[in-house]
Symmetry: D2
């Protein structure tokens, strides 16, 4: 065939959420096929997982170095073109570097590296490699986030007054108060997670969102981190004041102990002409605020959006993209039924649902035609 881009996957095996996310995303626009992988450092688990998701096992390699070595032996038209790096954070740098040095494109999970020093080295490597390199700050793919960027670029806000980005989660609350847990979870161990927990894991998304949407660079910051226990000094919460280009001020607020918050990423940007508000948990609603006109609610898929925003929208307005997943659940139930596996009778609509639907439609028409009288379904 040859139209699809040949994709290799590093990490993301088993029930890794980031693995699911990358695999699904790579398939949605019919652009990629997975041709090789090292899902897991354990080779047997690696092959087993490949079988489980039905990927040919002949290019499932025992480790990353072997993958590079073997793929380079293949003719260019068969070779992996791009690798998704989904491994633990400390492996991002050596893998990405070697991939670039060998001419591969790279899609790298964030954080790109564990230190700024490594990041700069990688940047140099990329300049020589001249391949494509993407860091998956996923949230910039949302249609309404792209719409914010384009509106600001087009001057809809005028001079920007203030930027306020939040990323509040609560999940570390379930860990932090237990001394044994908090001293063992990798996320709170600076050796494994890097020098920052909250700011490094999620604050950085809010930072990126600010630069992505405003097109401005943050030049200077003042941080105040929050620790709950003396015996664990990793930040689980914090505020960072920021100063940007053009004298714009703002702040990043992030927390992993905002109890009950799930994935509370949001941004508010206020300018001379308008204000913008968006939140990740309701990603299809972009509020455009004005002092003297009614607030407007922008939604994806409408012609009034920018090209960049529309580019990311496949379904008509009113369908949250979760519809893909809803349909996928039905396909999942059908797959179980076809394979003779056990399934619940609520997993997919059966022919009986179809029959009843027709009965409903015809009976409705009959009731209406007869002057709005009661009609029994069959």
């Amino acid at each position: 065939m040859g139209k699809k881009i040949k994709l290799g996957i590093l990490g993301g095996g088993g029930d890794s959420l980031i693995g699911v996310l990358h695999r699904v995303a790579s398939q949605i626009n019919d652009n990629y096929e997975i041709v090789g992988a090292v899902f897991n450092p354990d080779f047997e688990a690696n092959v087993a997982f490949a079988k489980e998701i039905d990927i040919p096992t002949n290019r499932i390699y025992k480790d990353f170095d072997t993958l590079v070595e073997e793929e380079l032996k293949l003719p260019k038209e068969e070779r992996i073109q791009v690798c998704s790096v989904l491994t633990p954070n400390f492996l991002h740098f050596p893998m990405a570097k070697k991939l670039l040095e060998n001419g591969f494109h790279v899609i790298c999970e964030k954080p790109m590296t564990t230190t700024y020093e490594e990041a700069v080295i990688l940047q140099d490597t990329l300049e020589k490699a001249k391949t494509v390199f993407a860091v998956t700050h996923t949230y910039t793919g949302y249609p309404m986030v792209r719409q914010m960027r384009e509106m600001i670029k087009a001057g809809a806000l005028g001079k920007i007054h203030k930027v306020d980005a939040q990323y509040y989660q609560g999940w570390i609350n379930t860990i932090i108060h237990d001394k044994a847990k908090r001293s063992t979870v990798w996320r709170l161990d600076p050796k494994k997670a890097g020098i920052s927990s909250c700011m490094g894991d999620i604050g950085v998304h809010a930072f990126n969102m600010i630069e992505y949407t405003t097109g401005l660079k943050i030049k200077s910051i003042l941080a105040d981190f929050n620790y709950l226990y003396e015996d664990n000094q990793m930040d689980v919460d914090g505020t960072v004041l920021i100063r940007m280009d053009k004298h714009v001020k703002g702040l990043v607020r992030a927390s992993q102990v905002a109890t009950g918050e799930e994935n509370g990423l949001s941004i508010a940007i206020y300018g001379e002409k308008a204000g913008l508000r968006w939140e990740q948990e309701n990603p299809n609603y972009l509020y455009v605020l004005s002092d003297d006109k009614p607030a407007q609610v922008y939604k994806p898929g409408h012609a009034y959006n920018s090209d960049l925003s529309l580019d990311g929208t496949k379904l008509p307005p009113g369908h949250p993209e979760g519809i893909f997943d809803s349909m996928a659940n039905i396909y999942l139930g059908v797959a179980r039924a076809i394979r003779g596996e056990e399934y619940n009778d609520g997993e997919f609509p059966t022919m009986m649902d179809g029959v009843r639907g027709l009965d409903f439609i015809e009976s409705s028409v009959e009731s209406n035609k007869k002057g709005n009288v009661w009609v029994d379904l069959k």
Copy 2:
């Protein structure tokens, strides 16, 4: 190989939205591979589309009958196991019938057939065929819809008092007031769309949602349809009063001229012990109402949900499933870059975003460590 179910596609070519939806959904849980298709009645367009989405063309057939004939010649382990029927409504019945008669499983778009009579015939066919047959009432795949069903089954509402389901859209408003348009659009032509527009296309989803969630059957209905122009008597709006098992009353409200509504499917179910409210445009929020306790907001992915609800959830709480699509947009941008196509610099985060992220994290730590002082980014 062999783990994935072999899927055939009928219809859904080109930029068909329903085609996109089924293809993506079939891939999300790693269960299906598309091995054959008749995307389009025009053979050249058919092959061209297969190439565009990178599906092997050797099993792209010139028409449906050929597909059935040729597939039956293949050894059973290579043969299409299940077909998704995405063709115009009037073709659902003959295709589904023939597929069943030849031992194929079927995933059929709704409406399953154009008449109740056909539906009953198909039901007989299925009884003999003993294969799997699903009608894609997509909305029943949402985790919180499944949660409603399971809560009601478990008695959380007690005796049900009232069911009120709504499906309000506005899109026909852009067509109906133009005489030329309303007399040519297939949806408003009873010969092409069946005997009902609004109730047949969307009211039936609300009907299905009621029966799915409550587990009760609607026994009797009284309908009042709404037409806007004398020269076009297809219902574009209407209300159907319903009477269900166990003396439960309720109603279905549907409209295609509810101007400004996008895909306003929602349901409210009130019982002796609690009330439930859910709306498709914000599918992750299920409100559980009480007379004497605070309302509760159920969300997907939490352990407090039923197994059936959790089965459909791949990501942790707080991630709207649209996250798949957001990530997919980033993969799309990367694909364009790899192919050397034109792309916008906002389409995917680059290494520079990664570098700046590290700079932010390290500078935050430094500012905090030094006692909350300003630190310049590099």
Copy 3:
């Protein structure tokens, strides 16, 4: 003095909610003073209540007839000008009739009478009396309801397609399932409450809202009522299909057993050019929907609203009118303190709050001036 209108009150004593509502409302715009009343059929309770709310007792009468008789003896400039009729439903008619016949203006709670026959008689009486008569369909006083009316009058919706009004409450759910309770509560006894519970008490508000906002008359209806127990046939839920002037269709949905709903009055009106949605529980948000433009959120107090809407708004945008009540709670706490009654230290902000506020402001300025350093509060 003499600028304020002299108001008499019939009923509404003790902790009657409707009594509170009318007394407060009569005072908000500095237009009325209460000069006479029969709060209670028991004279002692009547006088006691007048003292409790600090109204002069010399014009607290033993019964309604005495009130009319005695007031008529007073010189016209001292006499009650208008009476608020807040008594049980069956007394509305005889009281209103006698008041009109004696030249009084009347503000009457709804339902105005218990039968249509009485209503027509009252109408005749009013025509002769030529005084002012108002029925308190309270919801028409909301600024955004008035805005809907004015927008529709000005043609913002064009031809109306559909009107859908809902009034869902759940409170009878706490009564209906107990046989003893449901057979004794006055609301479910047709002799006391009139021929309808749900439609008569709340459906009629939805009906009024439709006629008020659209300016159209409902000409014909089809009703389906819902009873939960054979031994109590009063409707506690129901749907009424409606046909209006200009061939507009719609419906009224009402329930008193919509478990967990509090006071869920809402209306949606869809027309050729736009749609409108409003709900009483969030009365400051009017959604103006369009097929091709972002939805707009109208809020009270902005210059873009109609005069009729602005007339009802005393506070700047963003202050829910509940701010009156919030301030009133503080005055209540202060009153208790002044009277030496017991009160909670959270009932009103004390001077210490004032001191700390100044400390905060001055310390903030100091911290900012010194280059964003930590400053201790005193």
Copy 4:
């Protein structure tokens, strides 16, 4: 009579919003009667306004000193007991001080004084006076704010992790970009408004809300203020990092240039056991968040609330307190009609609305009784 507390008003004449707010609030719980005032420094305007709102003019004084002097001559049972100080900020201190020194209770608008130094002097004065003194941090009167305080006091959150209070308004955006306007508006002139605009006017409310709800004291702060123009250095935006008792951290975010924000006061408090979120623009919704249970939505008036919260609630659940205002608008229309002034036919429901309501109810019953048939209204 004598049950009502005798209230004097200083300032708040004409169309002063704060004047309306205090007058209405003082009347809502039947506790106060206004017996004296200096609404305006201009005596004629002062008397005219008293007449306009129908307050006896014999105790309308030419200035504050006269008010104090004359009132002291009255017998104690007739004398003003409490004065509401609604004058420009710089007058709060001298007036409050003199009132306290002469034995009056005081209700003082915020800021209590213009400097911390004055505040401390006033505190000393109060200690000697032993009267009641309230600063009107109005927002602490909301039922759900009181509920937050009581829940935290009862330990519902456990150890508090983080407090985040916001007060975003946009109104100065309409002034700040015009050099002439920004150099003349009193709010941006430090001589008239005090040393801070944004933090002094609204940030201090957020500060107070934090201390009120958590019961903790803020001990140390770090501020970053935002100015938009070099020629006007008053803060119109800013962030204040805070450190509280028990090592709790948090922040106050405030802005007067958050374009399109109306009165965006909100607070989020996260603790070990739960999180709380509340916003002033939707004051009836208190979200109680949990990591492992569905979020709960607390609303006013329910028995599950604390006594302090219920104390402030007069109406049943589901009635936003704005209902008072809605009813008041209807009374306003009736007043105009009674006085023979011009009014719009949408200002109050007339008898015709009452007649139609009865027609609707009776017709509904008839339609239902006859088996759900169409019935024409009369």
